[in-house]
Symmetry: C2
Subunit: 487 residues, 2 copies
C-alpha cells in the first residue's frame, strides 16, 4: 500500500517542514534518520504560511495533496495561518481532505524531563476522534442573540475510532482501553460512543475495558494518571484532555502525535511554529523526532525506531546537551549540539525500555455512503424553532390556534431545553429562541411530508421560524430527547 522506493527498499514519505522552527526541527530529524540509516526517503512539499501568501486559500497546494495521496504518509512541521489570509488552517485542510479520523497522542514520562508527576511512570495513549463532533463547524445564528453549533456524532464515526483505539492497544501491547464520554448528559450523541464501545468491545477480549465520565476523567488524570493505559474519546473532549495529559509529562513542546485515516497518515509535533525562537537554532526537535519514531513504527521499521528512541531517551536522561526549554536557565545548547548528542548515542540503551510494538491494523471502511435502514420508522412530530419576543403563554396560545385543524397539535414549548409551556412554575430566563414541539395526531410510517410542510408554512405567516427538526421513531424508539420539565 505505502509507496516504497524499490532500489533501496526505502519508504517514500512526504515531508512538510512547515513554518517557524519547523524547518529546523525537520532538518534535525532528517539528520538523525540519516545517521541511523532509517529506511525513509523524503519527498519535500510545501504547506502553510508561504502557500497562503501565494494566494492558495487552503494552505496546501494540489502538488502537496497529490504527494501525500501517493505516498500515503507524511511528516509535518507546524503550519501557520498568516493573519489576513482567511481563517482556514492548513492543518484542518489536510485532516479533512484525507479524513484523518484518528488523532493518536502518546503521553509517556520522559527521562530527564522533571514534572510534579515524575517517577509515577505515566505511560498512556489518548485516541481522539478527529473529524466529527462540534468540530464539523456547522454553526447558525438562530436569532441575533442566539448562536447554535451542531454537535454531530455518527455510528460509523464512533466505530472507526473505537476500533482504531482497540487496534492500537493491541499493537502496543497495552492492557486496558477506557472510553471517556459525557453519555450521562448527552444520551444520543455522547451516549452513542459509549454504546458502540460496549457493542464492539467483545471483539477484543484481550483488552480490559471501562467507561468513565469525561469530567471525572480529567479529575483522575490529575489525581492518579498512572491508572490509564489507552483512552478513547470524542473530538472536543479529546482536545482538552490530550493537552491536559501532555502537561503531566512536560508539556506540548515535547509531545508527538499522529493523524490516521484510511488513505493517509500524517505525523507531527503538537507544538506550533514558536516564532520567537525561529531561525535561531534553539528549537527542541524532540516532539517532531518522537513523531517520526511513531512513523517508523507505522511503516514497520521497529528496530530503527527503537534505536533512535533509545538514543533520545539516553540523551534526555544524561541531561548533558539539552535545548534551553529542558535546561536550567543559561545551560541550554542549540538544536545542532542536541542532535549531535542523539546521533552519538545511537546504539546505546537507556534505563527506560522501549515498548513492544506490532503493526497497527486499521479496519478498512467501504468507500460508499454509510447507511443503516431501521426495521421500522415512523414520523411522530416536529420541533419548530422560532424567534419571538412574546411570553411563553402568548406564544402557546398563538401556536395552539395556528395548529387547530391541522394534522398536528402543540405539545410543549421549551427555551434552551427547559419546558416553559405548559408552565411548570420554574423561573426560566427566556431568550428569543423557542423550541415549539408539535405532535402528529396520527403517527405515520416512513418520513413523508405528513402536513409538516403545511404547518411550517402556516407558522411562517405569523412567526419567524429559522429551524425545523422532525421527530422520528426508529425501530419503535423515540429518536429525540424530551425537554427538562417538571413531571
Amino acid at each position: 500500500m505505502i509507496a516504497t522506493s524499490p532500489a533501496l527498499a526505502k519508504t517514500l514519505v512526504t515531508a512538510l517542514p512547515g513554518d517557524g522552527i519547523g524547518p529546523e526541527v525537520f532538518e534535525a530529524t532528517r539528520r538523525i534518520f540519516e545517521a541511523a540509516e532509517a529506511p525513509v526517503e523524503w519527498e519535500v512539499a510545501e504547506a502553510g504560511a508561504a502557500v497562503f501568501r501565494k494566494g492558495i486559500a487552503s494552505g496546501a497546494p494540489r502538488e502537496t495533496l497529490d504527494s501525500i495521496a501517493r505516498n500515503r504518509i507524511a511528516l509535518k512541521g507546524p503550519l501557520e495561518t498568516p493573519v489576513g489570509y482567511g481563517n482556514k488552517s492548513a492543518n484542518v485542510t489536510l485532516r479533512k481532505h484525507f479524513e484523518l479520523y484518528a488523532n493518536i497522542r502518546p503521553v509517556r514520562e520522559l527521562p530527564g524531563v522533571k514534572t510534579p508527576f515524575t517517577g509515577r511512570g505515566i505511560d498512556m495513549v489518548i485516541v481522539r476522534e478527529n473529524v466529527e463532533d462540534v468540530y464539523a463547524g456547522i454553526e447558525h445564528m438562530q436569532t441575533p442573540d442566539v448562536a447554535q453549533c451542531l454537535k454531530l456524532m455518527t455510528r460509523p464515526g464512533c466505530e472507526r475510532i473505537i476500533r482504531a483505539a482497540f487496534g492500537l492497544a493491541q499493537a502496543e501491547d497495552r492492557r486496558k482501553l477506557t472510553c471517556a464520554t459525557k453519555a450521562n448528559i448527552m444520551k444520543l450523541t455522547e451516549g452513542m460512543m459509549k454504546r458502540v464501545f460496549e457493542e464492539v468491545g467483545p471483539d477484543y477480549p484481550d483488552i480490559a475495558q471501562d467507561h468513565i465520565i469525561i469530567d471525572n476523567c480529567a479529575h483522575q488524570l490529575v489525581i492518579a494518571p498512572e491508572q490509564f493505559d489507552v483512552i478513547v474519546t470524542s473530538n472536543m473532549n479529546g482536545d482538552i484532555i490530550s493537552d491536559l495529559a501532555a502537561g503531566l509529562v512536560g508539556g506540548l513542546g515535547i509531545a508527538p502525535s499522529s493523524n490516521l485515516g484510511d488513505h493517509a497518515a500524517i505525523f507531527e509535533a503538537v507544538h506550533g511554529s514558536a516564532p520567537a525562537i525561529a531561525g535561531k537554532g534553539l528549537a527542541n526537535p524532540t516532539a517532531l523526532l518522537s513523531a517520526a519514531i511513531m512513523m517508523l513504527r507505522h511503516i514497520g521499521a521497529f528496530e530503527t525506531a527503537e534505536t533512535i528512541e533509545q538514543a533520545l531517551f539516553i540523551t534526555l536522561a544524561e541531561g548533558e546537551n539539552l535545548t534551553g526549554d529542558l535546561s536550567p536557565r543559561g545551560h541550554g545548547v542549540g538544536t545542532d549540539k542536541f542532535v549531535g548528542q542523539v546521533i552519538e548515542n545511537l546504539g546505546r540503551t537507556s534505563n527506560l525500555p522501549s515498548r513492544a510494538y506490532r503493526p497497527l491494523e486499521l479496519k478498512a471502511w467501504p468507500d460508499r455512503t454509510a447507511h443503516t435502514e431501521p426495521a421500522s420508522r415512523e414520523l411522530i412530530g416536529v420541533d419548530i424553532f422560532l424567534e419571538s419576543s412574546l411570553s411563553a403563554a402568548e406564544l402557546g396560545a398563538s401556536l395552539t390556534a395556528i395548529a387547530e385543524g391541522s394534522a398536528l397539535r402543540l405539545d410543549s414549548i421549551s427555551n434552551r431545553g427547559v419546558q416553559v409551556w405548559p408552565a411548570t412554575g420554574g423561573r426560566t430566563f427566556l431568550v428569543d429562541h423557542f423550541d415549539c414541539r408539535f405532535m402528529l395526531n396520527e403517527p405515520a410510517a416512513g418520513n413523508g411530508p405528513q402536513g409538516i410542510s403545511d404547518l411550517v408554512k402556516a407558522i411562517g405567516q405569523k412567526h419567524s421560524w429559522m429551524h425545523v427538526e422532525k421527530l422520528q421513531r426508529f425501530d419503535g424508539k423515540d429518536a429525540f430527547e424530551r425537554p427538562q420539565g417538571e413531571s
Copy 2:
C-alpha cells in the same frame, strides 16, 4: 431580599441533607455552625432518592421548591437518582427550576492536604456557565446512524455569566479574569462568549483580563496553575476544567461550590453520596462545610465565615483528627471527632489567611424575553439536512433538478461539515446525513416564507429530510458558517 427570622436576625436557609453521607456531613456542618453561633436558621426539606421513591419524578417536591423560593438560599447535600426512577436528576431539576446560571468553584490549596502541587499557592475560582451549551439536552437522531445535540449559547447567557465572574473577582479582591473558550473553532457559539467578554470588560477596569483557548487552559492548569485567578467559561468546558482544577488541590471530595441565579443560591459539596461509607460516621464534612462558609459570605456573615474557615484550616494544618480520606491508612478518625476538633479550634487563626471578601452584587435581569432587533435582516438561503444513501454526485444532480425553476438554487452539499458537492477531490467518508445548502436567487428582507416551505415540500417528495435551518444575514453579516471546502 433574603428571608431573615426577625427575632434573632438569623437568615432562614433551606437545608437539603440529601442522600448517603449527606445527612452526616450536613449534621457536622450544623454542629459547627451552632458552636460558632452562625446567624443561620435551618428549614429542613427533602430532595433526592426518597422523593423519587415516593413517585415524584423530578426528585424535588413542591414544598421543597417553595421553601427555596421563599428563602432564596439553600445548603444541599448530595442527591442520588435511584436506578429505575427515570433518568432525571434532582440536581438538574433544582438548577433549571431556579435558573442557577452561575456555578462557582473555588480551588484553593488547603493546609495539610498533600498533592503534587503543594506549596505552589494555587488559589483560583472557576466560574462555569450552568444552564446553556450542550447541556440544554436538545438531541435528535438525524438518521438511525447520526446523532445530533444542539450547542446553544446566547448573548444574554454569556453576559450574565461574564458579569457574574467580574463581580466575583471584585467581591473576592482578585486581580485577573481569564475567559476560556474554543472561539478559534466555534466562531459563532464559543466566539460569542469571547466577544461578549471583550465588550463588557471595559466596565471592570480594576480587573486584568485575558482570553485563553480551552485546550491550552487545561494544559496550563497542569503546567502552571498559579497563573490563574478567576476563570470564566462555558458549561461543557467548565465541567471538565473545574473537576481538573479540583484535582490539583486534593480532589472532588473536599471541593465546595455554589450555584447562583437571580432568584436563589444553592450551596453544595461537589462530591456525591459516597454510598460505600454512608451511615458509618466516616465521611469528611470539609466540602459541605466549605460550601456553607461560602454561603455565610453570600449572606454577608463575613466574620463568622472567617472564624469557621480558620478553624477548619488549622485543623487540617495540624493534621491531628482528620478523617480517613485525608490520613495515612489506619490513622483516620470519625466525622464526629473531626467536627469536635474544628469546634475546639474555633477562635484560633491558621498560617493561611482567609481572603478579603465583599458582598457579591449580581446584576438583576429583567423578567421578560430577551430580544434584540437588528438594524437589518435578510433571508438568503436555507440548509436542508436529509438522509440518503446516494453518492454526493447523485444527490447533487437530483437536488439541482428539484430546485430548477424555484426561488432557490443548490449551492453546495456537505457531509459532517466538509463540502462534498461540488467535488473537491477530498477523501471524505460519507455518512447518510447531507447538509444541502440552497441560496435564494433574490435575497429578501425579513424572514418570510420566500418559497422555502415550497422547496422543503418538493424535496420531501423525493428525499427524506429531517432538519432545516434558514440562512440569515443580521446587520449585513452572514449569520452562519461555511463548510470546509477547498477554495
